[in-house]
Symmetry: C2
Subunit: 406 residues, 2 copies
C-alpha cells in the first residue's frame, strides 16, 4: 500500500503542516511507501519524486519542524491539466500511479489544484480505473476557497498582515505632518487579506487602519477620495489597506495601473495599484503620500498562527485517512457557531471548490464599522497562538527535504 | 534636577529600548522630573512635552515593554537646526531648557541628530551657558554611524533582513523554471543592510542569496549582468540583494530610476531601483524577473535581536549617566576582539559622528566569498537572541506613551 503527496499553487506558511499531517497519517496507517512528488503534478508526469524515510522523519522531528517551514517544501507548479480528458497527460499520470502501486494520491492546493483533482477523478470514472483514490487538501492565503469556514494558510497571512499594520502605524505616526500610507495587500478577486488589516484595530481605542478597499466593493474613485478627505479631517497619518485587485467603478485607476500580463491559469497579473493610488492622492490633495507593498512575505512569513498550523496538519492527516476508503473528496473545516470558535471537520466534492471563489459577503461592506466588526470577529479566533519557530545563531532554521527522505 | 529626552530621525526597532534605558537611569539617579519631548527638537521648540510618571512606569512594566515597541514612541522630526548660531531657534531652545530647569538633555538619533547635539554644544560654549549637559545617544538601522562597532538598531534590521531572505528563498524555489528575484533593501550611501542579507547563507550548504550589490561597489551594469549570467549557469532561482542606493558606474540604471525628490536634509530620495533592475534583467535575459521591496518594515519589525535591545538600553542608560557630569559626548560600543564577541562602552564627541558615514570597508568587497565571510562574522553575533514580543488574542501588543506619563 503506497501513497503519493504533492503540493501545488502559491505557497502558504502552513502548507507544509498539511504535508506533515498527510505523512504522519501515512506512517500511522501503515503505508509501505510514502512518496513525495516534486513540483506538484509535474513530478508525477515526469517521474520526479522522493520517498519518505520513516526513521529519519522521526529522528529529525520533521513532523513538528514542518509546521513552521514556510512555502511548499515539495515545490509547486502552475500546470493546468487539459480540459480534454483524451489528452495523453492523463494516461501518463495513471501509468505512473499504477507503476508505483499508488492507492492514495493527496493533492494539497487551491482552487486550481482542486480542478486537477476533479478532472483526474472524472478520468478514473470514465475509464473504470479502480484501486486509486485521489483526494484534495485545501490551502490558500487568499481565503477564497468555497465550502469551508476559512482556507488553511489564510489565518497565518492574516496574522502577519494585522501585526505588520500595527507596526506600520507605529512607524507612520512619528512625524507631525499630514500623510497617507497606502498598503497594497495580496488578493486579486477576494479582499480577505486586505480586510485582515482590520485586525490591527482590535482593542485599540484609536483606529490604526483607517480605510480598507477590497475588490468586492463597488465604489468610484470620487467616492474613495471623499472618504480619504473626510478621514483626514481628524487623522494626521492615514493608513489605507488596499487589495491589489481593487478597482474603482469606472476603472480610472485600472487604466493606468494594471499590467496585461497573464499567468498560466489565465489570471490577470495585477500590481502597482497601491503606488498609483498613493500618487493620485499626493497629486489631488498635495500631501505626503507613499505606497508600501507587503509583497510575497505575506505568504512566507514565520509569524505563523498556531491555530492555522494545527488545523492545516489535521486537514492533511484527514485527507490521507479519507483517501484510504474514498475518492473525489476534500476535507474541510467549518465553524460550529459564531460566538465561541469551535470547528468540525467534514468533506466536500472538488466540484464545490474548483474554479469557484468565496468572497466577502456584501452585507459586511455596508459601512466601515460593520466591516470592521464582522471581519475582526471572523478572523480573530483564527490567528490565535504563535507557532514556535526554531532559531539557531539568531537565525530561523528551516527543515530541508533532504533531512527526511531516502 | 530635571532631564529631558527626545528621539529623532528614522525609527528603529530598538530606539525605545534606549529611551527605556535613559528613563531607568533618570529614576535610578534620582532625577525629580523626567520629561519627554515630542517629535524630537520640535517638542522643545514648541514646548510640547510629557512627564514620566515613575509609579506608572514601574506598574506598567514599561521598562521591559519598551524593549519591543518598534518605532519612536515619542515621535520624530526632520528639523535641521540652522548653521547660523544666531538663528532665534537656539535662544528658544535654551529658554525652554532653563524654564524647565533641565540639567540633562538626551537626544537619541542618527548622524543628523548628532549634528544637532554638536551645534547646541557649540552654542552653549559660545554663550557661556552652564548647568546644562547635552548628550547624544546613537541609533540608526543604516549602521553608518562613525566611531562605533555598529549602530544600535542595525542588528534588529539585519536579523529581519537575513530571516526574511531565508523565507524568500523558500518561496522562490518552488517553481521549476529560471527566475531572478531582486530584493531592494534600504541604504542610500552605505550597504550594510543589503549586506545583511548574506546572513541567510550562514550554515546553509547552498547559497540562499546569490548576489549582493551595495553603494560602496564600483561596478558597471555590464559587469553586474555578467555576474548574473554566470550565476544562472548553475542556479535556477537567483536572488539578488540590492541596496536602494546602489548605482552602476555609468549611472545607466540611475538615469531612469531615481526620483529627484529630496528630504529635509537635502538627501536624495531614491526608490524603484529594484524594479528597474528586475525589468532590465527580464528584458535582456528573457527570464522571469521580479522585484520585492522590503520597505519600511525593515525598521519596525518585531523580529528584534535581544543583543541589540540590551545594547540599546545600555547606551540610553549610559547617555543619561554621562550627562550628569559631562556634555557634548555620545556613548558608543566597540568590539574588544573579532573572535569572541565582547563589547566595551566608551564615548566620542558628536563631531566624530555628525555628518559622517561609516561604509563597508573596500577590502571586504574583493570578491563575493570574502564579502560573505567578512559580513557574516561581523553581523552574526549582533543578531543573537530573540526579544520576546507580548501577544494578546494572537496580535502583538505595544505599550502606549499614555501608559507611563502623568
Amino acid at each position: 500500500m503506497n501513497c503519493i503527496i504533492a503540493q501545488s499553487g502559491g505557497p502558504t506558511s502552513v502548507i507544509n503542516a498539511s504535508l506533515s499531517g498527510a505523512i504522519s497519517a501515512g506512517i500511522d496507517f501503515g503505508f509501505d511507501r510514502i512518496l513525495l512528488s516534486l513540483n506538484g503534478i509535474e513530478g508525477i508526469l515526469g517521474g520526479n519524486f522522493r520517498e519518505v524515510d520513516k526513521k529519519k522523519f522521526k529522528a529529525t522531528k520533521a513532523k513538528d519542524r514542518l509546521m513552521t517551514r514556510p512555502s511548499s517544501i515539495l515545490g509547486s507548479c502552475r500546470y493546468k491539466l487539459a480540459d480534454d480528458l483524451k489528452d495523453p497527460s492523463y494516461e501518463k499520470i495513471f501509468n505512473f500511479l499504477k507503476s508505483e502501486n499508488i492507492s492514495v494520491f493527496i493533492y494539497i492546493g487551491g482552487n486550481d489544484s482542486m480542478d486537477t483533482v476533479m478532472k483526474l477523478n472524472t478520468y478514473m470514472e470514465d475509464n473504470n480505473i479502480e484501486g486509486i483514490n485521489i483526494v484534495g487538501c485545501p490551502k490558500t492565503i487568499d481565503n477564497d476557497l468555497n465550502g469551508m469556514d476559512h482556507s488553511p494558510g489564510f489565518p497565518s497571512a492574516a496574522k502577519y498582515i494585522g501585526s505588520t499594520l500595527r507596526a506600520i502605524r507605529a512607524d507612520v505616526d512619528i512625524y507631525d505632518l499630514k500623510s497617507v500610507t497606502v498598503v497594497e495587500i495580496m488578493g486579486r478577486h477576494a479582499g480577505w487579506l486586505a480586510a485582515s488589516s482590520l485586525l490591527a484595530n482590535h482593542k485599540y481605542p484609536k483606529e490604526l487602519v483607517n480605510l480598507v478597499y477590497v475588490p468586492e466593493m463597488d465604489k468610484s474613485l470620487d467616492e474613495l477620495m471623499a472618504e480619504v478627505k473626510a478621514k483626514l479631517d481628524y487623522e494626521n497619518n492615514l493608513i489605507i489597506a488596499l487589495a491589489e485587485g481593487f478597482r474603482d467603478r469606472k476603472g480610472d485607476l485600472d487604466k493606468v495601473t494594471f499590467s496585461n500580463a497573464k499567468d498560466g491559469f489565465n489570471h490577470k497579473v495585477v500590481s502597482g495599484v497601491g503606488q498609483r493610488l498613493a500618487d493620485y492622492i499626493r497629486d489631488r490633495l498635495g500631501i505626503k503620500s507613499r505606497a508600501v507593498e507587503l509583497s510575497i512575505i505575506q505568504r512566507t512569513s514565520t509569524n505563523i498562527s498556531l491555530t492555522d498550523a494545527k488545523e492545516a496538519f489535521s486537514l492533511g492527516y484527514r485527507a490521507l485517512k479519507l483517501g484510504m476508503d474514498k475518492t473525489n473528496l476534500i476535507p474541510v473545516l467549518r465553524r460550529k457557531n459564531q460566538d465561541s470558535y469551535e470547528v468540525y471537520y467534514t468533506e466536500v466534492k472538488p466540484s464545490e471548490i474548483a474554479n469557484k471563489e468565496m468572497k466577502i459577503p456584501k452585507s459586511w461592506l455596508k459601512d466601515y464599522d460593520t466591516f470592521s466588526q464582522k471581519m475582526i470577529s471572523y478572523a480573530l479566533p483564527l490567528i490565535k497562538g504563535e507557532a514556535e519557530v526554531h532559531y539557531e545563531d539568531g537565525m530561523p532554521v528551516f527543515i530541508e527535504l533532504g533531512e527526511f527522505i531516502k
